[in-house]
Amino acid sequence: MIPLPAMDLRVLAPEISVAGAAVALLALDLLLRRGQRALLRWAALGAVAVALGVTLTSVRGAFPEEGGMFVRDGITQLFEVALLLGLGIAILLGADYLPRFQLERGEYYALLFASALGAMIMAGSRDFLLLFLGLEALSIPLYVLAGFARRSPRSLEAGMKYFLLGAFSSAFFLYGVALVYGAAGTMRLDALSAVPGRGGDLLLLGGMALLTIGLGFKAAAVPFHFWAPDVYEGAPLPVTAFMSVVAKLGAFAGILRVFPLSLGFLAFRWIPVLAGIAAATMVLGNVVALLQGNFKRLMAYSSIAHAGYALVGVASGTPAGLWSTAFYLVNYLFMTLGAFAVVGPLVREGAEADLIEDYAGIGARRPLLGAAMALFMASLAGIPPTGGFMAKLYIFTAAVQGGQVWLAVLGVLTSVVSVSYYMRVAYVLFTGEVRPDVQANPSALASLAVALAAAAVLLLGIFPAPVLSVVQRVANLLL
């Protein structure tokens, strides 16, 4: 018998279950006949449920050994749970869309799981190499998914664009890692603070700047956001929804791991930079969103703007900022997926209905759907009593606490700007006549996605205390 090193595989149980699910779904597709593809969706949902169960019950610790490069602490677990919930809702909201456009294949689900796996690995990385592996595992499936509708030139273009720019940004990230290694002589994130003579080291600062570019690209922060509108618009709608959430969570997991959790001693260097990026991101995202007539492009700019708000939490440089960012992302996940879930099942002449004007009158005909959309839009705009408001309240409290009142003021003012485009969507839903070429018949699964997201947004807005106390306990353990 080969003597096994003392590895605690239980620490990796969530990641293993997600990776296993990806492989199993790929294999399952081979066994199914043409008409049985719907089974895949149920299998995927089952796999998400199992992975969630595993994540909630599995142990904390590090891998491969005590102090290893993968750490499973509160932050990891929080992101894992959020990512799996997002994955589940994304699968639900594709239930109408995929069969209609003949996209429901094993690869699709396998790629979703693989991408989520990458984000989960990023959340638990304590080593630059692992962080990079996670980043690539997150990104590469997304490139493929963006171009998944092979017959649609739009989708192919989106995939291509995303891939080229993404590869470029990965290179930045990798170069940043190299510079940091040159300065510190270690790949370990947790060893950075122990490196002697670090404060003014140009290598280290240069590396940090390049890391900011790489992670900022994934988070779609200004000025690394250019890919987002085109990719969001071109990708199949369920992919857009999934991407807007999972890529964002993965990127912010990385940002949290690198900046506040590892480079805390250089806070005086990166706080001004991140604050500046946050400000530019909030302003540009919200202002340009005003001009959009395409819902997916609108949501792209919305996701840019929200990256700005989440960055405010990081840039506050306080422990409260850390958990506010985590809480913000959880809220962002539900309201964004909810909004996509409402419009996902809509069809205009056999194509996806992605223009805002396509939604005219839908809310009047289907009041519950309309009310849910109004709720998501209000939450995205940060109007109480929704999760979006609570999330912003904590973010801005953290900013003020960190002495950055100007960021808070800019944040609330750009939120007012955002009201006009979010409310326009809600308004269109309730006015005008339903367009004759638009059909809205969501299936039970798609409706379930809407209902889950709506319940979460309301719950986080009215009774945030239980969720918050979990998030806060997590953050307090870390700092």
Partner: protein, 513 residues
């Protein structure tokens, strides 16, 4: 009683109604009745509250408190005192009337309309009763969404523009107030040692001068936009003109009061020193509003616009009374807030009655209406006289008390304000003369039939209140007295500035940087 959470019942009964309407109201008539009955139930609860309210006490009555988000010290805290009790009662009176008035005029999407109205009622009542700053803010912003849709869906031709203008205008002010609330909270945390958003805990705090000024400015901006104080009033005519009748009534009678109430409940007690310093500026703005609103109202051809601008003028007087900072003037202002709710609410209902019949609101399209609609003419006269503050009506008591209080504080202000009273008589009498008397100019006079029984029922409670407050205002004034006295004492006496010696509060453990 004792353990029954009366205030929560008052606040959330309309919400329950909104849910009930959403679930049951497939047929319009069911929606209307369900909504109306729930608003009546709320009224009954509020009436009980008003009856049981102890006029002798200045403390918060029927107070409720429960932790909401303990980690940040946010609590669910309600209470009623002399400053809010009248406004709660007014809200509970106005909503059934507004719902009744839209019985025939709102025929599309009745279920959504009724639900949104009830949601709005919950938000307004919550705003008047919250004692926690975040809870207050949640209700305060919660008003925007229902109002946005009420204007945007059931409004006039330019509804989409008016709705978003209303939304953006009022939200810009309130988000800055949110930042101020957060700053106040963090300051309070370092000073009091525990995180809290409790108004009663925070209002005893002493703040550095410049901080107090900034925070007061942020609060004042939010409230001044809502009132609206000249020159921040430009959203109001648009919103009023485009809103459906019931929306205009709510807007005028209640939403504007929320702003003035905000000054009394939050801005003055939290930042007394700053409020004293800003009193001169705000009084001048109030006077400009009184005169400007009156003059512009006089020039209007659209009856609804005329009434909208008259609101700017009347609310100016309310603001003037508040910032005279004497008990008498503040009490007068409070009563005047209720009076304006009754009389201007009534005027918008009158415009609605005319518009429902001939679908125009232009003054020159009317004339001689009194001959065609005699009962209506009496109603118009009573409501008009109440708005002009003729003795014997409610308006007189409130205006007289306010002016008297202002006069004692600064006779020059009072002199200018009297001008506003004269102006209001001018434009209202001119409007009544043009519309009600002279030759009949309506294109289809046969449609100008007199008030139906339901419409009469709408005006009856208002007329009752006009005379009740006009002749025997004691029950109303008595309830405000103790609280207003206490507020005035607090604002006048409280030196809130931190002495230079203890300017540095003990900061908790230098977090973060």
């Amino acid at each position: 009683m004792g353990k029954v959470p009366v205030l929560s019942l008052v606040v959330f009964t309309p919400l329950a109604g909104a849910v009930a309407v959403a679930l049951l109201g497939r047929r319009p008539q069911v929606s209307r009745w369900t909504g109306f009955l729930f608003s009546l139930l709320t009224f009954a609860l509020a009436a009980w509250l008003f009856q049981r309210f102890d006029p002798a006490s200045a403390a918060m009555q029927f107070a409720e408190r429960a932790p909401w988000i303990p980690s940040l010290g946010i609590s669910y805290q309600l209470g009623v005192d002399g400053i809010s009790v009248l406004l709660v009662a007014l809200t509970a009176v106005i909503f059934p009337i507004a719902l009744l008035s839209s019985w025939d005029s709102v025929t599309e999407k009745v279920r959504a309309f009724t639900s949104l109205m009830l949601l709005l009622e919950t938000a307004i009542l919550g705003t008047f009763l919250s004692l926690d700053l975040i809870l207050f803010y949640v209700f305060w912003e919660g008003m925007l969404i229902p109002m946005y849709f009420l204007i945007g869906i059931w409004g006039g031709p330019r509804r989409s523009y008016a709705a978003i203008k209303f939304f953006l205008y009022t939200m810009t002010g309130s988000v800055l107030m949110l930042v101020a609330i957060v700053i106040l909270h963090l300051y309070g945390r370092s000073l009091l040692g525990a995180p809290t958003f409790d108004l009663l805990d925070l209002q005893g705090m002493r703040l550095p001068r410049s901080l107090e000024m900034w925070l007061f400015a942020a609060f004042a901006l939010a409230f001044a936009i809502k009132v609206p104080v000249w020159p921040l009033h430009t959203w109001l005519p648009d919103a009023h003109v485009e809103a459906p009748t019931a929306g205009s009534v709510i807007l005028a009678a209640l939403l504007l009061k929320v702003g003035a109430y905000g000054f009394l409940r939050f801005a003055l007690p939290l930042f007394p020193e700053a409020a004293r310093s800003a009193a001169g500026l705000l009084s001048v703005l109030a006077l400009l509003g009184i005169v400007y609103g009156g003059m512009v109202a006089w020039r209007q051809h659209d009856v609804k616009r005329l009434v909208a601008y008259s609101s700017v003028s009347h609310l100016g007087l309310v603001m003037l009374g508040i910032f005279a900072l004497t008990p008498q003037a503040v009490q007068g202002s409070l009563l005047q807030m209720v009076n304006h709710g009754i009389s201007t609410g009534g005027l918008f209902l009158i415009v609605g009655v005319l518009y429902d019949r001939v679908h125009t609101r232009m003054i020159h399209d009317f004339g001689g209406v009194a001959r065609l609609m005699p009962t209506f003419a009496v109603v118009v006269l009573i409501v008009g006289l109440s708005s002009m503050a003729l003795p014997g009506t409610n308006g007189f008591v409130g205006e007289f008390l306010t002016l008297l209080g202002v006069f004692r504080a600064n006779w020059r202000y009072a002199a200018v304000a009297v001008l506003g009273a004269i102006l209001s008589a001018v434009y209202l009498l001119w409007m009544i003369e043009q519309v009600m008397h002279g030759p009949v100019r309506a294109r289809s006079p046969e449609r100008l039939v007199d008030l139906r029984r339901r419409e009469l029922l709408v005006f009856l409670p208002l007329i009752l209140l006009i005379f009740w407050i006009g002749i025997y205002p004691r029950p109303f004034l008595a309830r405000t007295e103790a609280s207003v006295q206490q507020l005035a004492r607090h604002v006048q006496a409280h030196t809130s500035y931190v002495q230079s010696a203890d300017l540095q509060p003990s900061r908790g453990g230098g977090e973060g940087r």
